[in-house]
């Protein structure tokens, strides 16, 4: 095992996959040189050369379109979009083209495209650089949506995403880029669509994603001191959703809290709550509570009021316990 930052785990995954498969290339704004805005692609240009590390103009639709076209011919592009908020300037390519092409054309294409994009607040980056929009993409058939929370998961899942023959939206979290964690020295993969029970517990299930996984673990720790044992499930993949792991846990705990950083209303927590309510309502001993952001744009300097946090999870858990 070794300790590594989330951002460097991404770099390792890219580097390993590029070494393993000559058809993998990275493309995006500033991905050469210093390795993009957050240095995810650092040193790849030196290692793999200009053929496989493609610096582009600021033209997100062209970036994604090129990736799609190249993928129809067997290449395996990994496109970087600098902030998740900028996916808005290439939504047609993602949603109407990439997601639908295989279906629309009768299955003739595989589309092994990965689009990496960081979500989230915590950096005081303001309303146009802090959003969590995973719910949009989870609503679109044809895409897979991956959203890892730890260095270990980000590396294993990015490697798997690159090997997947379907388009994958790979949502990183910029507030986690500097976060450190252990990973094995040797190669490993993590399957897409498999949630991870990050902490076992008998009383309440907390399903969380991305940064909120860490807040939930913190919450679980402090609640444990009060005798409440929380099971924390890190979803890791938003689509396909690992219903089984969630359901098994809820069956055991009978209490569910969902925590994500995205705006609560119409977020992915709604789907999880609705699924449980549809298929196992009788298991529930309490309402399903959701912890998410309020219905306002992400403010520059009021993030401390805006961002869902540990305390929010603690309160929600206590509420379902007290019910």
């Amino acid at each position: 095992m070794k300790e590594i930052r989330y951002i460097r785990a991404i770099t390792e995954a890219l580097s390993e996959e590029m070494a393993r498969d000559e058809d993998v290339f990275v493309i995006g704004e500033d991905v050469g040189g210093p390795g993009g805005a957050f240095s995810a692609t650092k040193d790849l240009l030196e290692k793999f050369g200009e053929k496989r590390v493609k610096d582009t103009p600021i033209s997100e639709s062209a970036i994604v379109g090129l990736a799609i076209g190249a993928a129809t011919q067997g290449l395996r592009p990994v496109a970087e979009i600098m902030f998740m908020d900028f996916l808005t300037v290439c939504m047609d390519q993602i949603v109407n083209q990439m997601a639908k092409m295989r279906y629309m054309f009768g299955g003739i294409y595989k589309l092994p495209v990965v689009i990496r994009a960081p979500c989230g607040g915590g950096l005081n980056a303001g309303p146009q650089h802090s959003q969590c929009l995973e719910a949009w993409f989870a609503h679109i058939p044809g895409l897979k949506v991956v959203m890892p929370a730890t260095p270990y998961d980000v590396k294993g899942l990015l490697k798997t995403s690159i090997r997947d023959d379907n388009p994958v939206l790979f949502i990183e979290n910029k507030a986690l880029y500097a976060f450190k964690g252990e990973i094995p020295e040797e190669e490993y993969l993590i399957p897409i669509g498999k949630a991870d029970v990050k902490r076992k517990g008998r009383d309440v299930t907390v399903v969380a994603t991305s940064r909120m996984v860490h807040q939930s673990l913190e919450a679980a720790k402090s609640l444990s001191n009060e005798g409440i044992e929380v099971e924390v499930i890190d979803l890791r993949t938003i689509n396909p959703l690992d219903k089984e792991t969630i359901f098994q846990s809820v069956e055991k705990t009978s209490r569910l809290v969902i925590a994500h950083e995205a705006v609560k209303a119409f977020g992915i927590g709604a789907e999880i709550a609705a699924m449980v309510c549809e298929e196992m309502i009788d298991c529930l001993d309490a309402p399903i509570l959701r912890v998410g952001a309020p219905f306002v744009p992400v403010p520059f300097n009021l993030e401390n009021f805006y961002l869902p946090n540990t305390e929010g999870v603690v309160q929600a858990v206590k509420k379902v316990m007290a019910y």
């Binding site: 053929k51 090129l66 076209g69 083209q97 295989r102 054309f105 299955g107």
Partner: protein, 318 residues
């Protein structure tokens, strides 16, 4: 000079595209095709002039008005027709219809229902061709209206910058749906926009298949030799409405009449006859052959079943 076989091939393709679309209008009017279709009658010279000189493994991208290019690129008429009918044996198993024909074997990468939506993707096949050291060129067809979408701009810049082997073929029929060109752009020649990207731009009489052939040849050669992309604008005329059933009430009758005066088939046929390449007898044979191909395609399509519910769930993911 263009070789005799090529001339005859182009003639055949033009007549074929015309007759197929005439039949489609007919069938559509009878309510035998679901959804909507867009025909390019009057614009056949562009598809024939460009696609007749492409290799089978070259790539094309087409639009909602893409029947002609796909046919000229050599797709199978039966599966094409079945797709438009929405039947199981169609190219997309009937799941996509007229606007979304694709045929991997013949390099028809895909038709697109989003105006300008295919342009960025065409960069990718061109990129892959260079990557693999192949000499395959990509032709991306789109309309005059599409030249005002942001994707046009982003894509042409990137293609020129990276010297990609792609021909951006703007089929300028003077209309974007119900709106004539002068209402939505100041320039007369869209090819002038090539200058914004340091790219070669040419405008050609798109109703003259020989002229299209010639300029397309240069563009294709440039692309194949690694000399970069071309913006090739073919000025042509839309005879019918935007979609089948559109009565074109917004369009002066005179304009329609004039458009029909530019008939690329009449023009080319006259040339071929005057140059003694063909005679009226030959035309009859071609027409007969085409008719039987179309008949066969239609009956193939009509006898192909609609897919069952199980097909609904196929091909979303690998």
């Amino acid at each position: 000079m263009v070789k005799r076989e090529t001339l005859l091939e182009m003639f055949y393709l033009m007549v074929k595209v015309r007759r197929v679309e005439e039949r489609l209008l007919d069938i559509f009017a009878q309510g035998r095709i679901p959804g909507f279709i867009h025909v390019g009658i009057g614009q056949e010279a562009v598809a024939a002039g460009v696609c007749s000189q492409l290799e089978p493994n070259d790539y094309i991208f087409t639009t909602h008005r893409g029947h002609g290019q796909a046919i000229a690129k050599g797709i199978d008429l039966k599966r094409f027709m079945a797709e438009i009918y929405g039947r199981r044996d169609g190219y997309c198993k009937g799941k996509s219809g007229s606007m979304h024909i694709a045929c991997k074997e013949m390099g028809v990468v895909g038709s697109n229902g989003i105006v300008g939506g295919g342009i960025p993707i065409s960069l990718g096949t061109a990129f892959a061709s260079v990557w693999k050291g192949e000499k395959r060129v990509t032709v991306c067809f789109f309309g005059d209206g599409a030249a005002n979408e942001g994707t046009f701009h982003e894509s042409l810049n990137l293609a020129s910058l990276w010297n990609l082997p792609v021909i951006f073929c703007c089929e300028n029929n003077g209309w974007a749906q119900f709106t004539p060109q002068k209402v939505y752009m100041k320039l007369e020649n869209i090819s002038a926009r090539a200058g914004s990207y340091g790219m070669v731009g040419v405008t050609v009489d798109g109703d003259d298949v020989l002229k299209v052939y010639e300029e397309a040849k240069r563009a294709i050669e440039r692309a194949r030799k690694g000399q970069g992309p071309t913006l090739l604008e073919c000025k042509t005329h839309r005879w019918f409405g935007h979609f089948a059933g559109d009565a074109q009430k917004y369009r002066p009758a005179k304009d329609i009449e004039e458009a029909r005066g530019f008939d690329p088939i009449v023009k080319f046929q006259r040339f071929l006859i005057e140059s003694k390449y063909i005679n009226p007898e030959y035309i009859k044979t071609v027409e007969a052959k085409i008719k039987s191909e179309i008949d066969e395609a239609v009956s193939f399509a009509e006898s192909s079943p609609v897919a069952g519910e199980e097909e609904l769930f196929n091909d979303v993911y690998v």
